[in-house]
């Protein structure tokens, strides 16, 4: 009898210990913000993304009920090898449960693979390549904020429909640029336009004059900038210098962030049309959040990438709480099940291939005279509803949903 009781209690202890193990690893949910903290993408993601993740934890206090959540951050220097090494170290020896942000598509694709191997979770906000929900899709990854297909579809079709039929691309020579050029070219052709040429420039490039001259010689109506950050701002600035727009060609910035417009100044950037997933001045909730963010970020307003980090972490913590586990594969599955709802992106869903769905906005940069204050930069020209903003699941070629 005594023996049996002992056995029972031992079994009970084992069961409890086992259950605790399956719950939260190390009794803490550890979020790793991995992005460019010092280079060309540091302003659009960087420390601002870390801040956004911390704000998300703060705002989740009510549901966390004592669950400990920590944030760590690191600089991947836009290099896939550096990013992979950090991801492995985080997963293997530092107890990181989820990696968020990761701009620079080449790095994101590498982290995507490692996360899948390790069965952890990966919430992409900064990277653009639509391959993350296409041929590289993973049961451990959600692509949150935007992607190349969305940008191409929003901006590309709007421009072709208003008469920009022939295109020449200036493309950043790495995974992101290639994906953006491919997706945009497809939209251009589908809408009856034509791609007359492209040139791939090294990443990063300071002087675009050679490439702009080639674009000029192509006589294309539209020069598509399939690049980002300082590359885009330098190209736009130098295009003005070479009188490209005055001579009748137009620029299409395929990926432009709030920080880029800020860096260019409205004088140079006015009239630029592009697609964004989020803008701070949309409703009371987004304005209030942006003001709070800017106050803690040296006055710099949030980009869509940073807003996406906030939104994805909010949803992640909800899912962790719902299943009481931080097992990567399970949490991602739960995140796909739960509808999303947060102050920045409103209500939305996560699709089976890992694509988060929300509306996209076609915006135009204001004239200096229209801007009323700091960071008052965009006019929203059109809203593309969530069900049309992103690539249909069937076209992506994601092996998970075949």
């Amino acid at each position: 009898m005594k023996f049996r009781r002992k056995l029972l209690s031992a079994a009970a202890i084992l069961a409890i210990a086992g259950a605790a193990h399956a719950q939260i690893s190390g009794n803490v949910v550890k979020i790793g913000v991995l992005n460019d903290q010092s280079g060309t993408y540091a302003d659009l993601a960087g420390p601002g993304s870390t801040l956004a993740a911390k704000m998300a934890i703060e705002d989740s206090k009510a549901i966390l009920k004592g669950l400990k959540v920590e944030v760590v951050s690191a600089d991947h220097q836009n290099k896939p090898d550096v990013g992979s090494a950090i991801a492995r170290k985080w997963y293997d020896s530092e107890g990181v449960d989820v990696i968020v942000d990761v701009p620079t598509s080449s790095v994101a694709l590498a982290v995507n693979q490692i996360t899948k191997e390790k069965g952890k979770a990966f919430l992409v906000s900064g990277a653009a390549t639509s391959d993350l929900t296409g041929k590289a899709c993973s049961p451990n990854t959600i692509h949150w904020t935007y992607d190349t297909w969305e940008l191409a579809n929003g901006t590309g079709s709007a421009i072709v429909k208003t008469g920009g039929k022939t295109w020449f691309f200036l493309t950043a020579d790495y995974a992101f640029g290639h994906a953006l050029e491919r997706d945009t070219a497809a939209v251009v052709v589908k809408n009856g336009g034509k791609v007359v040429g492209s040139v791939r420039h090294p990443f990063p490039t300071a002087d675009f004059s050679s490439f702009l001259l080639q674009a000029q010689a192509s006589k294309a109506q539209i020069i598509g900038l399939a690049n980002a950050g300082a590359d885009t701002t330098n190209a736009i600035k130098q295009a003005a210098e070479f009188g490209i727009v005055k001579a009748g060609q137009n620029l299409a910035g395929m990926l432009v962030f709030l920080t880029d417009v800020h860096a260019l100044g409205l004088n140079t950037a006015q009239g630029l049309i592009f697609t964004t997933s989020w803008y701070w001045d949309m409703n009371d909730a987004s304005r209030a959040w942006a003001k709070r963010f800017a106050a803690a970020n040296g006055g710099k307003y949030p980009t869509m990438v940073q807003a996406g980090v906030y939104s994805s972490v909010i949803h992640y913590l909800k899912a962790v709480k719902a299943i009481n586990s931080d097992d990567g594969t399970k949490v991602i599955a739960e995140m796909k099940k739960l509808p999303t709802d947060d102050p920045l992106f409103g209500k939305g869903t996560v699709r089976a291939d890992g694509r988060k769905l929300h509306p996209a906005y076609l915006v135009e940069v204001k004239k200096p005279s229209e801007s009323k204050g700091p960071y008052d930069y965009y006019k929203i020209r059109a809203t593309i509803p969530a069900d049309q903003a992103f690539r249909p699941m069937a076209d992506g070629g994601c092996p998970l949903v075949k």
């Binding site: 010092s38 420039h201 300071a206 300082a230 600035k237 009188g243 860096a263």
Partner: protein, 294 residues
């Protein structure tokens, strides 16, 4: 209109000219490096950061003091040169007796610190600097559209480079400088204040970087990382030209600008590497550099 290797000659002329413009920046920057190395034996890795500081100085002169581009062109190099003088007096002057490597480590570390501070303060996207109104606009040359400002860059760079070469190679002051590198004790014995001369030389080399920074501000973003991007290429230029050779730095600067420009037409993917390939070949065949002695 004819074609060369499938590229219309019109386009080719344009690219040659653009190469020359970029070469102007390489020449101005490598010139400063060559002066500093040739006369002080210091490998000045802070040069990129000092170039960036020149651009920022222009930005502040415009936005805080309301002084336009032309004032900046005169004042920013002086301000940046003055910081160089401080660095030389406080730190570099203690290293002359040691191996090159120490100077390199110090200047490299300084560059990282300066860049880090600027990035922390101003972010990495950069700040806008307007084109001076006198140089806005462009001329149609028939084969290309040449912005007036770019033409000015070539002219200014040629002026600065020739003047520097002339002072160092053809004047009495230059003779003192060269003599002081060969045998400082002897020159000092003739009553020349050698340490002060060396300090001012470093200040001048740094001022050249500041000048290039002001020149760059209206074309590129005023960006804390602008120096880090260009400095590696400029070092390759100096190595190819021959460490310490003034004329070598100038000619190689312009020459490599043109080579890089042509690469952008024929095989743009190799733009970042072509200069290093040339460096490798030159080091194999002529280790002292194209214009170096010894």
């Amino acid at each position: 209109m004819g074609e060369i290797f499938g590229v219309p000659t019109q386009v080719l002329f344009g690219q040659l000219l653009i190469g020359l413009i970029n070469g102007s920046f390489y020449a101005m920057l490598s010139l400063g490096l060559a002066v500093i190395f040739g006369l002080l034996n210091i490998i000045n890795f802070t040069h990129g950061a000092q170039y960036m500081m020149g651009a920022f100085a222009a930005y502040f002169l415009l936005n805080k003091l309301g002084l336009n581009y032309w004032w900046s062109l005169a004042l920013a190099p002086i301000a940046v040169g003055a910081t160089g003088v401080v660095v030389e007096r406080l730190m570099l002057s203690r290293l002359y007796k040691l191996d090159h490597l120490y100077g390199l480590l110090l200047t490299f570390g300084l560059a990282l610190v300066i860049q880090g501070v600027f990035r922390n303060e101003f972010g990495s996207t950069g700040l806008p600097y307007p084109m001076p109104s006198q140089l806005a606009g462009a001329k149609n040359l028939g084969f290309m559209f040449l912005p007036n400002y770019r033409a000015w860059v070539i002219v200014a760079s040629l002026l600065v480079c020739t003047a520097t070469w002339f002072v160092i190679e053809r004047t009495k002051l230059g003779a003192y400088l060269r003599a002081a590198t060969e045998n400082p004790a002897m020159v000092q014995a003739f009553g020349v204040n050698v340490p002060r001369m060396i300090t001012l030389t470093y200040g001048f080399g740094v001022a050249l970087a500041g000048f290039a920074g002001v020149m760059a501000a209206p074309i590129y973003q005023v960006n804390p990382l602008m120096g880090a991007d260009i400095i590696i290429v400029v070092f390759a230029v100096v190595v190819i030209g021959g460490m310490g050779s003034i004329m070598g730095a100038i000619l190689t600067g312009f020459g490599l600008g043109v080579v890089e420009g042509l690469t952008k037409v024929f095989y743009p993917e190799a733009t970042n590497t072509v200069i290093f390939v040339i460096m490798g070949i030159v080091l194999l065949i002529r280790p002292q550099g194209l214009f170096g002695s010894r």
